[in-house]
Subunit: 233 residues, 2 copies
Amino acid sequence: MKRSKHIPTEEECSLNLHSIFKHLTEEEMDMVNFEKECNYFKRAEILYHEGRRMTGFYCVNKGVVKIYKTGIDGKEQIIAFAQRGNILGYRSILSNENACTTAKVIEDGILCYLPAHLLLELVNNNPGFSFEVMKLACQELGEANSYITDIAQKTVRERLAEVLILLKEKFGLDSNNTLQISLTREELANIVGTATESVIRLLSEFKSDGLVELNGRKIKILDIQALTKMGNI
Amino acid sequence: MKRSKHIPTEEECSLNLHSIFKHLTEEEMDMVNFEKECNYFKRAEILYHEGRRMTGFYCVNKGVVKIYKTGIDGKEQIIAFAQRGNILGYRSILSNENACTTAKVIEDGILCYLPAHLLLELVNNNPGFSFEVMKLACQELGEANSYITDIAQKTVRERLAEVLILLKEKFGLDSNNTLQISLTREELANIVGTATESVIRLLSEFKSDGLVELNGRKIKILDIQALTKMGNI
DNA sequence: CGGCCGCTTGAACGTTTTCAAACTCCGTGG
DNA sequence: CCACGGAGTTTGAAAACGTTCAAGCGGCCG
């Protein structure tokens, strides 16, 4: 839970890339900048725990956070990732519930923490901001609905193919067509909703079929079209 | 798509039971009542289709609506039910997307239709209303996240037990401990995310184990505790 | 009364999980 | 510098789980 004592620079803390704030007045933006607490975070740090009361929410300026629920016998189910420009933790504050997920940093980064009361004030005083947040929640709800249908109806193979495509869309590929996100086999399994061994077997099958190339956690996407088709997207 | 020509009475159309409207001014409430279109709806009528643009949303005053996505080869995945006091269809309007689900009446009822522009106006002009809608979306998002984890991690048996308990909580039991909702085996399967035959087999297993009693679509809950435990709730 | 839809059961099949074991990589401490 | 330990990865084999196909039954609506 240790954090670097160095505080990120003004620029690293800028919330301009968070389009959610675009409707704030100058005054409100000043308030946000005054209240925000930005820090460097390292891999494996936990931002908040499922079941705990949320005291605030986070804006990701750099790095990657995985958001997951802990199911039976401790198995993680990854619900989403947050990266540059995304916010997380706002749901529980607005619904006035305890956190329904845990958020863990998986790639070192810079995050700004904003206290819950600020979110509530902004939501109540600025209809534009409020609408942006509502829109976000509604979009996430739509994604969650698709996710439910996918997990319920697709085979593990289809879901893995789909997840690879979704990861490509969210995190992009480098110049070598390699996924710009590094996940363990277990994490992949926890997105897909299957056993680690199944992911391993299927990935090496994808490799045999010329769909991907594997090099440790680096996954090079060779045939987007075939993966898309296999995933029924 | 035929509707009864009879228009529901003022009382049957009352939106008082929809707590979402509790923050409206008298003036706004008048506007809602002026714009709303209430009708009787019969089983099997479809309110809106997945993929279509939403022109408005619905408030349920009576009856039950199932909300589902259509997956591969046409198999339905039921995402939610709406009954007295619930609203549906608001998500797509707020996120400005096409409908991500289809809504079909499964129990005759009375519904009030409200045009999309009204929702948007209210959300933009009344922070209290806006907050209620946001809260609702966030709650539904939390439920969806749990649903994802359940489907991904629980066995079909566990999920069926859980679904029975959830149906009990949502729709209640009559004086004879029978579920106050009538679903086909296929619909049950489409909630649980499994094959119809699996539901049938498991239900009759539950019956053998003294957990339920079956009489066509009537399901009598005999042992809530055992079902709760089996469902890992 | 016929036909359709939903329900039920059996049996075979395929997929996925589980368990066990071995191997690799990497960082730490002797 | 090397051995050790641990975490993550890989593979195999057996077992469990769930689906699919096929067939028959029953009730309800037209």
